[in-house]
Symmetry: D3
Subunit: 333 residues, 6 copies
Amino acid sequence: MKTFTADIKENDFIDSLFLVKEKSSSVTKTGNIYLRLKLVDRSGEMEGRIWTSVETFAEAFEKDDFVRLKGKAVSFQEHLQLNITHIERVEEEAIHLSDFFPVAERDIDEMLQSLIEISKEVKNQHLNQLLHLFWEDRPFLERFKVAPASKWLHHPYLGGLLEHTLSLAQLVLKNVCHYTGLNVDLLLTASILHDLGKIDELSYHRSFDYSDEGRLLGHIILGIERVENKIRQIEGFPKDLSTVLKHLLLSHHGQYSWGSPKRPMTLEAVMLHYLDDMDAKINGIRDFLRKEVPDGSRWSAYHRTFEQYFYVPTFWEQVELPDKIIKNGLEEE
Amino acid sequence: MKTFTADIKENDFIDSLFLVKEKSSSVTKTGNIYLRLKLVDRSGEMEGRIWTSVETFAEAFEKDDFVRLKGKAVSFQEHLQLNITHIERVEEEAIHLSDFFPVAERDIDEMLQSLIEISKEVKNQHLNQLLHLFWEDRPFLERFKVAPASKWLHHPYLGGLLEHTLSLAQLVLKNVCHYTGLNVDLLLTASILHDLGKIDELSYHRSFDYSDEGRLLGHIILGIERVENKIRQIEGFPKDLSTVLKHLLLSHHGQYSWGSPKRPMTLEAVMLHYLDDMDAKINGIRDFLRKEVPDGSRWSAYHRTFEQYFYVPTFWEQVELPDKIIKNGLEEE
Amino acid sequence: MKTFTADIKENDFIDSLFLVKEKSSSVTKTGNIYLRLKLVDRSGEMEGRIWTSVETFAEAFEKDDFVRLKGKAVSFQEHLQLNITHIERVEEEAIHLSDFFPVAERDIDEMLQSLIEISKEVKNQHLNQLLHLFWEDRPFLERFKVAPASKWLHHPYLGGLLEHTLSLAQLVLKNVCHYTGLNVDLLLTASILHDLGKIDELSYHRSFDYSDEGRLLGHIILGIERVENKIRQIEGFPKDLSTVLKHLLLSHHGQYSWGSPKRPMTLEAVMLHYLDDMDAKINGIRDFLRKEVPDGSRWSAYHRTFEQYFYVPTFWEQVELPDKIIKNGLEEE
Amino acid sequence: MKTFTADIKENDFIDSLFLVKEKSSSVTKTGNIYLRLKLVDRSGEMEGRIWTSVETFAEAFEKDDFVRLKGKAVSFQEHLQLNITHIERVEEEAIHLSDFFPVAERDIDEMLQSLIEISKEVKNQHLNQLLHLFWEDRPFLERFKVAPASKWLHHPYLGGLLEHTLSLAQLVLKNVCHYTGLNVDLLLTASILHDLGKIDELSYHRSFDYSDEGRLLGHIILGIERVENKIRQIEGFPKDLSTVLKHLLLSHHGQYSWGSPKRPMTLEAVMLHYLDDMDAKINGIRDFLRKEVPDGSRWSAYHRTFEQYFYVPTFWEQVELPDKIIKNGLEEE
Amino acid sequence: MKTFTADIKENDFIDSLFLVKEKSSSVTKTGNIYLRLKLVDRSGEMEGRIWTSVETFAEAFEKDDFVRLKGKAVSFQEHLQLNITHIERVEEEAIHLSDFFPVAERDIDEMLQSLIEISKEVKNQHLNQLLHLFWEDRPFLERFKVAPASKWLHHPYLGGLLEHTLSLAQLVLKNVCHYTGLNVDLLLTASILHDLGKIDELSYHRSFDYSDEGRLLGHIILGIERVENKIRQIEGFPKDLSTVLKHLLLSHHGQYSWGSPKRPMTLEAVMLHYLDDMDAKINGIRDFLRKEVPDGSRWSAYHRTFEQYFYVPTFWEQVELPDKIIKNGLEEE
Amino acid sequence: MKTFTADIKENDFIDSLFLVKEKSSSVTKTGNIYLRLKLVDRSGEMEGRIWTSVETFAEAFEKDDFVRLKGKAVSFQEHLQLNITHIERVEEEAIHLSDFFPVAERDIDEMLQSLIEISKEVKNQHLNQLLHLFWEDRPFLERFKVAPASKWLHHPYLGGLLEHTLSLAQLVLKNVCHYTGLNVDLLLTASILHDLGKIDELSYHRSFDYSDEGRLLGHIILGIERVENKIRQIEGFPKDLSTVLKHLLLSHHGQYSWGSPKRPMTLEAVMLHYLDDMDAKINGIRDFLRKEVPDGSRWSAYHRTFEQYFYVPTFWEQVELPDKIIKNGLEEE
């Protein structure tokens, strides 16, 4: 069973799995070489040291490997560090990703099933066929199921992209009929495809960060390329349908300054932008409130991206308080 | 029956009701004084001239009066003008406002009834009582039923404010349960009250324009004052509930540059802002597409406020084309 | 007599009053519970520790209480901390606010008297009556006398709001007659009332920070509500006078991005905005120069809000140097 | 005596002075060459035609010349034009500039005298000497006395620069002592010199427009050059005094986007900016209100530069209404 | 031979080719139907009327057709119009595009040859192959040779895109070796491909305007799609080379607000952006100076996009004056 | 020979030259006064302590002096510090500036010679004469040769201004002939003079920082003053040539927000701005990539001024990797 870094105390003996985030060699004052590691899991991170069999162990694993290790937690300069006596590399299959990264609360397969159900509402045969091609693409699905929706702003956990996509598709269903004159097939399809470039933009098997492609091209362009690839496989896919669909994907950020090279120009594009933005903001702020409201306060910490504080009102009984992560306040001197 | 200015042709004899938009006296080359009028109704406007009994008629009505007049349409310098032989003031009761201003398509009383029904969903007694006080306020209701939602950007017609308010309340109902942790009573109440200051901000009994109060204080402040006045009548209305409700009203424009002195700081305020903005944009753009897409084009005219063009896609059978106002292309030389 | 934290040295025995800014419990390596306090006064802050009778003392006071304590200053990890042997809560009446917070240099009652004198210049009976109602409102006056004008940007000390208000009213008197066509009564009244919402926006009895109301509604709205409340008590107060007065209050920040929902639209509103802004800036920058110009330098530290440096010229004898807080440069190793 | 274009009626015989704004030759349908002129004076402009002795008259004057002409006002296509029978060039000395351009209301020499008086308050010998050098510079004074302060935004009339400069110097005197720590000599000197580059930036002997230098370099740089030239003539003028004085001139627009390459960095520079900006705005808006508030309205036309409307309140007897230019509403058909 | 609209005079008999820009039917006062045309060519536009054989001619051509017509120029309400006696549709092959649209000054085939020569400098085999595929694509080349580079801002003439592309490639060659560490192959390839999406973004066979695709997706996305299509045909094209090349294309506008979804992140992308922007600006401003500097002036008209005036200095003999289009000043009354 | 701070190890005995960056006195716990120094050279900085002969040594040198000292490196609280046994002031002539500050890689005198060669291309006699006056100005040349081009953004090393100036002049030569209609003499002269105010804006004999003049007036104004001073010495220098030259200098930053009080208005000014900006950016980013790309990464650190990351592509053999400063990764515990 996994022992989490956050639970380790001085003098504990540890035998568990970790991810090696940093690895370097150093020299003691007395001239001996040793290894310095940074070990992480979902609960936090911790320093590790290998003082013996350094040469052997140094070749046994690399930075960004998952490892099984044994060792003892000791205190050095007021911080805990693990003195490691044994370490070996383990395969990704041997670990539970959810021990190392935050994961969506809802079951991932269930969410995917719901999304596929919704996609059947699309009556237009070309769009329906397009979605179908994605559902049949195994390697795509594998990545789509685990990708987060962003590095930290909203849905920043495994399955987050899927959760956000499902949420947006449901919002489209709820809102599209409120107005006449909007094309539900186009909106549904675009909502399902809008962010799929994120499976290429972000890397998330060792940490949540941008891939080279992601930083250089961005998920909007990467997603359009994936969609274009599928469209080419569909005979007779109408040119103007393809153009308008791509317009919705391109413009869904709504503004140049948010990386959309075009602003929404059709009613469907306008609605997609609003619902997407609303879903991202509400998820992101709720998450932030869960983590960043100090005990006893109704005000969140300062949100750097939105450049403001948020507030949790408290005026009547039925207000549902966001679950607070319990923090124990004990420290030692 | 009303004869509309848009239907008047050369040599028609007219006997109908008009609104006098401008009134001034002038002098012919031969030295005779005459009156120049601008006459308007819902369909457009027209020049009028009074050449006889000038002094008598000059006292019979003022600018911004509704009048009944008789006269003949003649052509002068390629424009039609009415040579008026008789004119008299009529009371506002004698006219149908809808002959003179654009009106919402849906029945106004029916919309009000729907809104009142929705307001019963508010379980919190103080908020419920607050809404009740508005529904019992006759003078308020009279204005609330006819006010437009803006001068020209969105819902710019009699009943437009009510239509937008009802639409927003319905959107709140559809979206609030999509997320956990949002207070439906607060959101519903705020959606119903969010724009009511517009009944004071705009004048709409002679033309759609800003009132002095409207320009100097704005509908956000005017609305909060009306809400504050009702809250004072409710015993035991909690201070913090009042503060948070007013925060939602204050911040619903979402940004300083759009006239909100505070940005949304609670989840409810965030959702209210998005849904309000989406409803205004979609209504405004649909309206614009109806009026400002040239025949045979898929592109609208340039939208000055949004600084862009809009597009009506046309790629499959089930696309519902916006109703185009039929324009006959015949002109005379 | 108060012993200030800034004056405490190693091994001093202390018996004095402090404000408890933070309070938490912790555990020693040997498993004993102790209390960690942050103690503050006007001169700075200091760590405190309670090692004995922990349970008794823990119930004797709360965070944000003023306390009398006894203890000894010891050095731990190069920082001083107070080992507390006795501690008890004291009432606010027992302390001098000015021992704990910065206070305006000028006498507060004297400033209030000057402001009331100036307000007599207002000849318009309704405005005069309005000001009178404020001067007769004891609870208002109590808060108005001690409130700071901001958290740290300008006049950030007890009495600062009053000092800024008086200064602005005097500036109005000096400048209004320089131009013809400005209404002195309106300008004087607005200058006296312009920031009074700050008594509700800021809390200042334990620290200078925003109140919930302050953050959610802002001092402009809070001030207008207070003014509106008084106006309702005055019979026959003209509607348009009330509208224009509120316009001046609403627009005094001058720009949307500074939280004014309306920009100044009358000559009086324009002048009020300039003089208010000038007074805040000059006070704020002078204060900053007093505190943030390193010895031997003519340049201030970087001002985060204004995003620039400021300069103190030095080219002739009559230049009055801002008083520098003397800092002794001795440190110990 | 001057006959103004605004007063000319059909069939009037004219013998008066005008400025030729445009001059071109044209050909009648029957093949005859004639001259087309645009004639202007302070009251407006008018078309002129020369049908006879075209060759002779064509050489008698140029565009931008002042001329004396005789002719008759006739109506052509609903506009008046002057059929000119005689025309001759006159020297600038023969005309009154104030017949052709708007002029400050206050006497120009009197204003200059007041400014020179104020400049004697400057005790610092180097600054005093600097101002003295300007007062002794005849060619400078000639231009300084007539220059407007801008093309149309504020003080856009002959003597306007002087009026604005005097006003600013008086404002400095009124406000500088309100605060301690500001150097009155520096502020007074800078206020007197701050805009003098405008005598080179604008041309104003034929119309108000920018000079080439003005557009390419701007009055801030042109003014600093003039000041630098004088400073070089003063022995022992301290380097740092010169630097700080030039800083005040450079930064008086307050912001990069208003053409100041530096923002105000000393208390004196901050005050100079505020008072200058306030004086320009209040003068400009008052002027705008005088000209651009339609009869019967309390609202101005839309101000293109400030992008807003302005309001003239009307709530009590002692409000001084801005003088409205009387416009007669009679037109002819 | 083409008779240009700008040269047509009253009573001329015309027999020439024109483009029909607008076509509608109308009714005379006497009830007869006639056709109203707008006829255009490179020199301008002109009204046309068909009074006889209306039904026959109405079917002989459509809006946006090229036509051969016969008729007589008559004057109506001070404007010339063509009374057409015969009209027939002609094929695009029968006309010279350069009679109808502005054309680049340099020979188009020569420019293409130069560009192909330059492209041979690219040593990297994959990039070289990529360019080769474009040079072998006939349909692409046909469009690439005539496309303008923009609707009116820079190079707005047939062949303008090619001229700009060649110019940019030459600039790259001149500047890339000035610095070490930049990859010339990548920069050259990107410069050649950077704007090729404009062949799809703009339509230019009847007028210069945006295509639907152009407005909805933009030339950056359209170009990347074309490049991606070619890359797929090249075996072993390295993924990271493709990513970086596309990054240069995506980011060449340099800023989000100019429609680039990514800002330049490599040295090559930075240089490409600067040289592209400089070439567009200098070409656009030179063109503007040629057309929009009034005779006798050194200042251009106001440039709406750049929001400023431009200046042509004139201080020494070797200054080359931009060719001014000669305008004759004769008008008729 | 210089011993660099970066190379000093525990227990080393040092005898070398350093710059004293900070100097203060302090007191030991036992009451003895000692001196604390911060010593710097090109490679970094180091603490120094003088425990003996404190009074004598305290008078031997000042902050910002170059000193020769002897001492021993000891470890205190995990940092090295020098215990100094002897110290004495040395003159600037005795040191090599390049031991203390970063220096341009290219030989400074050689660069100056190249620039002077280029300046001979200027055929216009007045401009040629102007440049000549600068080359004959010894004190100017001394400063021009060592000045950096900025504090840290681009060319932040001794000789950097010269390197940037030479680079820009070469770029002008390469690009000016690419277009017709640009005046090469004007562009060359302006490129050579454009940044020379930086010799006054920055101080660089003890550290790279802004001078008072630099912060208060800026290098654009300071440079124009130097140019103006030379122009005054040239008889018959044409007024309009001087105006246009100064316009190029004034506007070379291109935008108000970058401190240019005018935007470029001539073709030459436009080109100067682009080439200057490109040279600064490419130099600055290349330098940043050299220093701020972590080993093993293709991505730079976050660039605070440009607010982005930069990328070093790596896809083929001929890519020239920026020289990385070798960092040894060994640390001690």
